[in-house]
């Protein structure tokens, strides 16, 4: 699902690299937790994989057939994300001017599925994240936990092969966090996607299939 080889990233006008020669492989249906101290470069790593930032060296192979997102231009990266990647943010980032249903529909609109199939797919996902009947609601009327469920539905609706989540439970209380995490694991496994979850919570990390720690000298 995801193969990272020799990835190195240095920010513009920073004198030392954030990370050097990182190696990682995530298989289908596998959920990998990524932990590490603040400022070590976890978000930067995730952004590189999603193609939001450009790595200085190395390869990131995603999808079937495999493509190296490092070598693609911006438009091709966007297209690859639209097809293969679902992203979940710590701050939810649900578009406030679109309804819940419309938010979930955005990835479908960028894909190739015939529009007639969209409503059924959205309803299916809303049901799976426990928000049946929320399609017409406005985001401002939802709680944080509910918003993150919408975000999970939006990340999975177009059946991507890779889910990237940057502290998905960071803004939630422990009980809601647990529920949201269960939902995410559940959905990822059901769709046989791979997932990389950045988290500060040992508890969340322990529920994943594998846990990696980012440190100055690489991933362990």
């Amino acid at each position: 699902m995801l193969t990272v080889c020799g990835l190195t990233k240095r920010h513009a006008n920073a004198h030392r690299a954030v990370f050097r020669s990182l190696e990682l492989a995530v298989g289908a249906g596998e959920v990998v937790a990524l932990v590490g101290e603040s400022g070590i470069g976890k978000s930067t790593f995730l952004n590189c994989i999603a193609g939001l930032e450009t790595a200085d060296a190395g390869q990131i192979l995603i999808g079937q057939p495999e493509k190296d997102i490092v070598t693609l231009d911006e438009t091709a990266r966007a297209a690859l994300r639209a097809r293969e990647i679902g992203f979940v943010f710590q701050a939810f980032h649900i578009l406030p001017t679109l309804t819940v249903g419309q938010n979930i529909a955005v990835p479908l609109l960028l894909g190739r599925a015939p529009p007639a199939t969209h409503p059924a797919r959205i309803a299916e996902l809303l049901e799976q994240v426990g928000l049946s009947g929320f399609a017409e609601r406005w985001p401002a009327t939802l709680s944080g936990g509910e918003l993150q469920r919408v975000a999970i539905a939006r990340a999975l609706v177009h059946r991507p092969s890779l889910i990237l989540a940057d502290e998905p439970t960071g803004n939630l209380d422990p009980r809601t966090a647990d529920e949201v995490m269960s939902l995410l694991l559940d959905q990822v496994r059901r769709q046989r996607a791979g997932a990389l979850v950045v988290t500060h919570s040992r508890h969340v990390a322990s529920r994943c299939d594998r846990m990696l720690t980012m440190a100055g000298d690489g991933l362990r």
């Binding site: 930032e53 994300r81 001017t97 955005v106 990835p107």
Partner: protein, 838 residues
């Protein structure tokens, strides 16, 4: 377009209703003004051209005198009639007569019934019932419907025509059905008109129809060479083209003003779209993460611009049409410019123009969205996700240096442009100089903001003030956006105020000089009745001095409007006593050489200079005259020349005054007025005091600038919208910051005071720069555009007090706008702002 684009646009319209409506309205206003002015100009010209054709028919050539006092000898007409190429010659005599007190002097056209049928079908009369062709030949006049409608004359009734001391009493034999609205004219057989009013051996003009297989242009050129001096052979449709040339500069000027209103609305769209983009930069980043390509994100923003511009333009077309109809009803077809006499023209939109203005409106709006789209495109996704929109700070020293260089280059080009000569007889370089001046103003805004307020921010001020200062100083881009609309609109308004008041002061002063006498007697176009003149010569007449003037016209260049020929009782040695001379006087080398004094327009259009000899087609021949000086004339834009009565009579001209200037005896002003009125009343003449003429002239002046005031008001309104919208955004963008301040103990009142102060600071910057640009643009309008377009020269006068009042009012409006912005910003509960990721 696809579903997503549509969702985003409608969501945007829904969540930012006021700002979207305001931008739409601004575009509509810009389009409406431009479209209305275009419609009115076009209708007025078409109307005029129709009126010309109605009277003239379509001859291949017209033979006429260059001098309005001259005529075409019958011998020459007969000679042309014998030319084998000529199919038909229709001689015409035209003169002005008075027929009723309720009417001004009307045109009397004498035609030959048999030749007129082929060449001037519209002039063909409809005899009253039971009349025959014999009635036409035995006299009787035919009158246009308007004459009947506006007087108590009736078909079949007797009528008296008067011109000077000549009278002709006859009867109305029928009407002229083909003459439509507003034509005041009479038609009679040419022989009768000649007998009663005209010379018997000459006609006013001859209309010529050539044989079908001839080449009219060639024939005209060939024949013109054999004509005596003082005669002119021209195309028939010249007249409408000449009118179009005549008012071209005026129309271009109005169109430029209208485009400026559209430009200001582009600023508002820019402010709104920048705001819209800034507020949603995280949203766009999220869409990018989900997979919306960079190109589609850019397109989305442009599309939103189009979604504002297109309906705005449609609305503008409707408003423009309504405005055009309303304005023509109110002010007539020339928008008060005084170019077309006559009625209310019919507004008829054409498809191309309508589409063009619609396109222009939409384009303006899209143009306003380009820079915001570019800024959004440039910001990295990861950054936008983390911190939202960040306009890059521009206050760095290296940046300042580059900006200073750019400003210097722009200033140089503005100076160069304002010294460039006119292009195609239009002040195009002058308009370009104005655009550059506006650019300078906008470009200078961040520099000034940063310089002025970062110094202020380090002063030991209370917290509210310091925060406002810091915010303005540190976000020069937002300040620039907020100020730019205000800079443009205030600069243009100030410049128009400066130009118009310079002009008005100059006209006022000029009226003093050209109207030295306390009383004037004017008869538009017809010579004054001899009884009145002889009564004035009696010893008991209560006047110490009477001076006459005769007005005529002269064709110097057939492609241009005629110039005025003014014969005056004026002292050859001391013309400055009666003429507002500018520059030096030249003394003729020979006392017998006739002298003319030319107006500034004549000097500029024809390149004539004082001291030179000039050949003019005067009195039917080529006459050599000496140019004695140049005088200022604000009333005849196409030039005029003055010759003294003595010189004119020495040349063989007959002096028949149409206007008199009268000086009553001391202490007898009131009785002089009564005396004169008693003598002139039954001739339907008008006596005016100098005060009445002044008031009337200034009223016409003010009316002719009424449209420009409307345009200025529109520009100011748009500028204020822009300020309010941007200010609200910049506050919104920093709502977290405000909320944090709130959490630290700032209360709502302090917050809103800080926002208002910020708005005031930005408005002050905008007004300061706007004023500076306005004075510069006012100077360009007064010293470059006016002389080049209209040949009007005048000293620059800056009405500081009026500008200051305008600035204070604008500042007050800006404060209101910022209060609104502050309300919006502080409406959200602090906790919600702090909790939301924004």
């Amino acid at each position: 377009m696809n579903t997503l684009a549509w969702w985003l646009i409608s969501a945007q319209f829904h969540s930012r209703r006021t700002a979207t409506w305001l931008s739409m309205l601004a575009i509509a206003l810009g389009v409406a003004l431009g479209y209305a002015i275009h419609l009115i100009n076009q209708a007025a010209l078409a109307d005029f051209a129709r009126a010309m054709h109605r009277v003239q028919g379509e001859p291949d050539a017209v033979l006429a005198a260059r001098d309005s006092a001259g005529s075409v000898p019958l011998a020459i007409v007969n000679q042309l009639a014998a030319d084998p190429t000529v199919a038909l010659v229709a001689p015409v005599i035209e003169t002005r007569v008075r027929v009723a007190e309720s009417l001004p002097a009307v045109r009397l056209i004498g035609v030959d019934l048999f030749s007129a049928g082929g060449l001037m079908p519209k002039l063909l009369p409809r005899p009253a019932e039971g009349a025959t062709i014999a009635d036409w030949l035995t006299g009787g006049v035919y009158v246009s419907p308007t004459v009947l409608a506006r007087s108590d004359l009736r078909v079949g009734a007797p009528i008296t025509l008067r011109r000077g001391d000549r009278l002709w009493t006859t009867r109305i034999a029928g009407d002229l059905p083909a003459m439509a609205n507003e034509d005041l004219l009479l038609v009679a057989d040419i022989a009768w008109v000649q007998e009663h009013f005209g010379p018997s051996d000459a006609v006013s003009e001859a209309r010529i129809l050539l044989e079908p297989d001839s080449a009219p242009a060639e024939w005209r050129r060939h024949t013109a060479q054999r004509l005596p001096a003082g005669l002119l052979l021209r195309e028939a449709d010249d007249d409408s083209a000449r009118v179009s040339n005549l008012s071209r500069a005026y129309r271009v000027n109005l169109n430029v003003l209208a485009l400026v209103a559209l430009l200001t609305s582009a600023f508002l769209v820019f402010a709104t779209q920048l705001t819209a983009v800034a507020q949603r930069s995280t949203h766009f980043a999220v869409l990018g993460v989900i997979g919306l390509s960079p190109r589609r994100r850019l397109l989305q923003i442009l599309l939103e611009g189009l979604a504002i511009g297109f309906p705005g333009a449609l609305l503008g077309l409707l408003m423009g049409y309504a405005l055009a109809v309303a304005f023509t009803q109110l002010l007539g077809g020339d928008l008060g410019g005084g170019f077309f006499s006559g009625g209310v023209p019919l507004i008829r939109p054409t498809l191309t123009a309508t589409l063009a203005f619609c396109f222009l409106g939409a384009l303006t709006s899209v143009a306003g969205a380009i820079y915001p789209a570019y800024l959004n495109r440039r910001q990295p996704l990861a950054q936008a996700l983390k911190i939202g929109f960040s306009p890059t700070p521009t206050g760095e020293a290296a940046h300042d240096h580059r900006r200073l260089k750019r400003l210097a280059a722009l200033s140089l080009s503005a100076v160069a442009l304002s010294h460039a000569p006119p292009l195609f007889e239009l002040p195009l370089a002058g308009y370009a100089a104005i655009a550059v001046l506006l650019l300078i103003g906008i470009d200078a805004a961040p520099l000034l903001t940063h310089r002025l307020f970062s110094a202020g921010a380090s002063l030991p001020l209370p917290a509210t003030q310091r925060i406002a200062l810091q915010n303005v100083a540190q976000a020069p881009l937002m300040a620039q956006v907020a100020a730019s609309g205000l800079i443009v609109s205030f600069a243009l308004t100030a410049s128009m105020v400066i130009m118009v008041s310079s002009f008005r002061v100059a006209v006022d002063h000029w009226l003093d000089e050209v109207l030295p006498a306390p009383i004037y007697l004017r008869s538009k176009g017809t010579p004054l009745p001899p009884e009145v003149l002889s009564a004035l010569r009696q010893a008991d007449a209560p006047f110490v001095k009477v001076e006459g003037t005769a007005h005529g016209t002269l064709t110097l260049d057939p492609r241009r409007p005629d110039v005025g020929l003014i014969v005056r009782e004026i002292d050859r040695q001391h013309p400055a006593q009666r003429l507002p001379l500018t520059g030096r006087l030249a003394t003729p080398p020979d006392d017998r050489l006739p002298v003319v004094w030319i107006s500034e327009a004549l000097q500029e259009i024809y390149g004539i200079h004082p001291g030179q000899l000039l050949r003019l087609p005067l009195l039917g021949r080529d006459v050599e005259l000496f140019v004695g000086g140049v005088w200022r004339d604000y009333s005849r834009q196409f030039g005029a020349l003055v010759i003294s009565r003595d010189d004119y009579q020495r040349l063989g001209g007959e002096f028949q005054a149409n206007d008199l200037a009268l000086w009553p005896r001391a202490g007898q002003e009131a009785s002089a007025m009564t005396w004169l009125t008693a003598h002139t009343d039954r001739h339907g003449l008008r006596v005016s005091t100098v005060g009445e003429i002044r008031d009337l002239s200034l009223a016409i002046f003010d009316k002719s600038f009424a449209v420009t005031y409307a345009l200025e008001a529109a520009a100011m309104l748009i500028g204020l919208f822009g300020l309010a919208v941007t200010l609200a955004t910049s506050v919104w963008l920093r709502s977290r910051e405000w909320a944090t301040l709130g959490a630290l103990g700032f209360d709502r009142r302090m917050l809103s005071r800080a926002v208002m102060l910020e708005g005031a600071l930005i408005a002050v910057i905008g007004l300061l720069i706007g004023l500076a640009c306005g004075v510069a643009i006012g100077a360009v309008l007064t010293h470059v555009v006016n002389p080049q377009a209209f040949h009007w020269r005048m000293p620059l006068i800056v009405p500081w007090s009026r500008l200051l009042v305008g600035a204070v009012l604008t500042l007050a409006a800006a404060l209101l706008a910022s209060r609104h912005a502050a309300r919006q910003a502080t409406r959200l509960p602090l906790a919600q702002i702090l909790a939301s990721g924004q």
